[in-house]
């Protein structure tokens, strides 16, 4: 994990080998907590939000799992198996996360992956009976609920979150 110093912002970059590390998000939460004040009762939510956003970037941005699922709907077991296989073979791809203080009690987290982009749903997400059983999409619901705002920019490979730290 490489920390890049920027004016008023901190940036971390994870390469393909680091994306395979299951403790990546825990390390990131520790790093963010060293640079920014995050109330202890918000750290669990920060970990959850970062887990979901990093998982989305890996699964859909870098591994391209959503296109596989859309083409040929698969079960959950198959989803997990193909995710593990694709991740193990990964030799390229990276994620960059930058964090800045956007208000006294709020940080802005930007996550950009090296993938070709992903067509994210727009507007308020709802869990309808039809999409309750989709292999993906629950992570976005969690992010939306636990963050002040979530915006996808560019071609969908960059997401910006406002997260309350108090």
């Amino acid at each position: 994990m490489q920390t890049l110093a920027q004016a008023q912002a901190c940036c971390w970059r994870f390469d393909s080998a680091e994306l395979k590390d299951t403790a990546l998000v825990e390390k990131l939460v520790s790093s963010i907590s060293r640079e920014f004040t995050v109330a202890s009762e918000r750290k669990r939510d920060l970990e959850l939000v970062l887990t979901e956003v990093v998982t989305n970037s890996i699964d859909h941005g870098i591994l391209g799992l959503d296109s596989t699922v859309k083409k040929d709907p698969i079960g959950f077991e198959q989803y997990f198996i193909s995710r593990a296989a694709k991740l193990a073979e990964l030799t390229q791809g990276s994620i960059e996360i930058s964090v800045e203080q956007s208000a006294a009690d709020c940080i802005r987290i930007s996550i950009q992956d090296s993938g070709p982009g992903f067509s994210y749903p727009t507007g308020e997400l709802k869990q309808t009976p039809e999409n309750l059983l989709l292999a993906y999409g629950r992570g976005l619901l969690i992010i939306q609920k636990l963050c002040e705002s979530m915006t996808h920019i560019g071609n969908g490979n960059c997401v910006v979150l406002d997260f309350a730290t108090q």
Partner: protein
């Protein structure tokens, strides 16, 4: 910590307990916990010792549901407040019976 499975004395119920983290890291042990479950058995997923749960755990619960199909009933037991909140966000109370 981790996933354990316990069969009731009369053999009618299997309780799968996830202690600590419920995420990708327990995928193999979670899957192994229910593969030996017979048709018609009641499955309890005890989340009273679960400290953390993310959408990968939601996926694993759906994987369990997919595995047992209509052959067994699944009951989620005593989720901790943090875990219950994640279940509610994903509307899992509409998919699973949850007992507090």
């Amino acid at each position: 910590m981790g996933v354990t499975a316990h069969r009731s004395e009369n053999g009618e119920e299997v309780t799968v307990t996830v202690a600590g983290r419920f995420d990708y890291r327990v995928y193999d042990s979670f899957k192994a916990s229910y593969t030996a479950i017979d048709n018609g058995q009641q499955i309890n997923v005890d989340l009273s010792k679960t400290e953390y749960m993310d959408s990968s755990a939601l996926g694993m619960l759906l994987m369990l549901r997919e595995h047992v199909g209509k052959a067994a009933d699944i009951l989620i037991v005593n989720p901790t407040p943090d875990v219950h909140r994640v279940l509610s966000i994903a509307n899992f109370d509409k998919l699973f019976a949850i007992k507090q």
